[in-house]
């Protein structure tokens, strides 16, 4: 089988054409896979693998030759979200999920990494956040880079989500930052006090770290379930 990839350096699709490929099985021995970009090759090799039928005798066959396939995605953004705050996932599990994304041609890992329940991300400039906020484990900078690198080779882009300003109780489970979140009278778990300099100090440190580490064009800010009444409980905000 001859595989031709014109540009080897496009690992992440930012345009639909990046994932385009053509696959031709002309006869029993002349098979070609062509892609302009590496990530297109990934989609093509996956399709090629799906052409194989498993026989009861343990052998494989491919039916219907000659076969011609030209393909590109209908949607550029095809995501899977994982939530490592509510349920910590170890690196092997995350990599396993990324493998599954490769096999199903999904291309965005939306990593809901931090939420009210836990803060499982070590931030070098604010280590207190994960020291008090983790419940099952903490992702080191090396861990994050390992996931990003593993995903990249599989044509998967990692977009982090840091849910704010609500859903932030876990940020305050340490002595230093204990006052930056409000408990919202039990309605929701944590909401930033935007009047404190310390809140902005924590937010700046976290987002600077996330921007630097993930290096993606997008960071998801969450932004859901903000309860305005929650801010009434502190006169300085009200």
């Amino acid at each position: 089988m001859t595989i031709t990839v014109t540009n080897g350096d496009q690992f992440i699709a930012t345009e639909k054409k990046h994932e385009a490929y053509s696959l031709t099985l002309k006869d029993e021995s002349h098979w070609t896979l062509k892609a302009d970009y590496y990530v297109g090759f990934l989609r093509g090799i996956e399709t090629f693998s799906q052409l194989f039928n498993y026989q009861e005798d343990g052998k494989h066959n491919i039916k219907g030759i000659p076969i011609t396939i030209t393909d590109s995605p209908q949607f550029l953004w095809r995501g899977l979200m994982i939530d490592t705050s509510r349920h910590f996932l170890n690196l092997d599990t995350i990599k396993h999920a990324i493998d599954g994304m490769l096999y199903t041609k999904l291309n965005i890992l939306h990593w809901h990494i931090v939420d009210e329940d836990s803060f499982p991300m070590y931030v070098p400039d604010a280590p207190e956040l994960s020291e008090g906020g983790n419940i099952g484990g903490v992702f080191s900078p090396t861990d994050l880079k390992a996931v990003i690198a593993y995903a990249r080779v599989r044509g998967v882009r990692v977009v982090p989500e840091i849910d704010t300003p609500a859903h932030t109780e876990s940020w305050g489970r340490n002595e230093k930052y204990k006052n930056i979140t409000l408990n919202c009278n039990g309605k929701y778990m944590g909401q930033f006090d935007p009047t404190l300099d310390l809140t902005w100090d924590a937010v700046s440190k976290v987002f600077n770290y996330v921007n630097k580490t993930f290096g993606d064009e997008y960071v998801h800010f969450g932004g859901d379930e903000v309860v305005y009444d929650c801010w009434d409980q502190r006169p300085s905000i009200k």
């Binding site: 590496y38 039928n53 052998k59 066959n61 011609t68």
Partner: protein, 74 residues
């Protein structure tokens, strides 16, 4: 009447899927094959890959990954 329409819809959908492919997912944008064409017995572990790419390492590594992880080649 409603039941007939549901059954007919399911039948048509089923036939459409059969025509396109029952193995490829997601379905490629354009896929043509010969229903009366050849069926080739092939060992996925013994295919010779010729790679023409600017950066062969990643392509070759991914092929190797498929051989081991998908086709369970030894």
């Amino acid at each position: 009447m409603k039941q007939i329409i549901i059954v007919a819809t399911l039948l048509l959908a089923s036939l459409a899927l059969q025509h396109d492919s029952d193995t490829l997912w997601p379905r490629p944008a354009n896929y043509s094959y010969d229903e009366a064409g050849k069926t080739v017995i092939v060992d996925p572990c013994n295919i010779i890959y010729v790679v023409n790419a600017a950066d062969k390492v990643y392509v070759s590594d991914m092929i190797t990954s498929y051989l081991f992880n998908v086709f369970k080649c030894k």
